[in-house]
């Protein structure tokens, strides 16, 4: 038995150590996320914003103070964000519970939501694309002028 473990353990341990390290980091990151959520929960009594949004601002503010994203927080946030869409599914399913409340108006509501979302999405994305294009062109021109001036010097 001891001989077996002596043979197998050295092979197994190096495989497990990185995984354990990642597990440690991710749980540390989760602790931080829940800490910010707790801060949001506490501050929501004072600020008229939802706790999660205050927590989001707290998380961003903490990173600003540290001047970097801790590796643990980065891993945990990537995990949470990758799976974020799943957390909406119960809400999507519960729509069917409240659907009868819309009664005769459901088609009008659906149509209005569809058209208005379509208009908002297209207009904002087009306008912001144009503005960004202009801003980048201006900054490029400015940097070109700067280099020209440097050349004259």
């Amino acid at each position: 038995m001891s001989k077996l473990s002596a043979e197998i353990m050295p092979k197994l341990v190096p495989k497990f150590i990185p995984k354990l390290k990642k597990l440690k980091l991710i749980s540390l990151g989760f602790c931080q996320v829940f800490l910010y959520l707790l801060i949001g929960e506490l501050l929501s009594a004072l600020i008229p914003l939802p706790p999660a949004i205050i927590g989001l601002i707290a998380c961003c503010g903490a990173c600003l103070l540290l001047q970097k994203v801790p590796e643990s927080l980065d891993i945990a946030s990537k995990f949470l964000l990758k799976n974020m869409a799943i957390f909406f599914i119960p809400y999507v399913v519960t729509i069917t519970l409240f659907w009868p409340a819309l009664a005769d108006y459901w088609l009008a509501c659906l149509l209005a939501l569809f058209i208005s979302t379509l208009i908002t999405l297209s207009l904002t994305s087009i306008v912001s694309d144009k503005l960004i294009e202009r801003a980048t062109q201006e900054s490029r021109k400015r940097s070109r002028n700067h280099t020209a001036m440097d050349d004259k010097k």
Binding site: Y36, L81, L121, S128
Partner: protein, 231 residues
């Protein structure tokens, strides 16, 4: 032991929801991002079909998915990380961001209200429509302020989120939108957190600007409504 069976039910619920979602997102990629095959629509339909097939009340499913619903708050907090990573880009384009934000915040509720008014819909539904592009916790408060029905407002919020997320990919390629910043902004303005969850699939920068747009849109609309309700 009732707590053990309870735990088992929760685990099974989580497993089924997770696997239905993963299968439907595989199918979504297979359908080349066809809007109606969006994972949220598809998995919602499949789950409702499964629940009715096995005669499980939807209330029970909702009760047992509290754990999944609770995870939304930490996920929202985690959005602070991509936001921090893109603060420098944000500072660079701040003038290019504010105008579309203002435009979207005005157009989104106004166009919906106008359409509903044209369709001659009840005024209580009209008032619940005002907050349709704002993340649901803020939307509930706003709807209470203006005198709408919060439960219906939440439905509108979720549906406009799903519509935005489903339309995003084909619409952006149709309009030839180049910058991830613009994609993120419009998704955040039109479809709040659900739009953000699909912006994450595009890029981290897109997610950051979606978060920003979602938060600022919520703040802006709240401010306008509060000022209006005072006068």
């Amino acid at each position: 032991m009732p707590s053990a069976t309870m735990l088992l039910i929760l685990a099974v619920n989580l497993l089924i929801t997770w696997s239905v979602f993963n299968l439907s997102s595989k199918l979504y990629h297979y359908c080349k991002h066809f809007p109606l095959a969006h994972p949220l629509i598809l998995s919602g339909l499949v789950l409702v079909a499964l629940l009715t097939a096995f005669d499980i009340p939807i209330e029970d499913y909702q009760q047992n998915s509290q754990v999944i619903m609770m995870m939304l708050a930490p996920a929202t907090v985690a959005l602070g990380v991509p936001l921090y990573k893109n603060l420098a880009v944000l500072a660079k384009y701040k003038s290019a961001i504010f105008i579309p934000l203002l435009l979207g915040a005005i157009i989104s509720p106004c166009s919906a209200l106008l359409l509903l008014w044209l369709f001659k819909v009840d005024s209580s539904l009209l008032l619940s429509m005002i907050s349709k592009s704002i993340t649901s916790p803020i939307a509930i408060d706003i709807t209470k302020l203006v005198g709408g029905i919060p439960a219906i407002a939440v439905i509108f919020v979720i549906i406009s989120g799903i519509i935005g997320a489903a339309l995003a990919t084909p619409l952006f390629s149709l309009l030839a939108i180049k910058h991830d910043i613009s994609k993120g902004l419009s998704l955040g303005i039109a479809s709040h957190a659900i739009g953000t969850s699909s912006a994450i699939q595009i890029s981290e920068q897109c997610a950051a600007f979606s978060v920003l747009a979602m938060c600022l849109n919520g703040l802006l609309t709240t401010l306008v409504i509060v000022v209006f309700s005072i006068f």
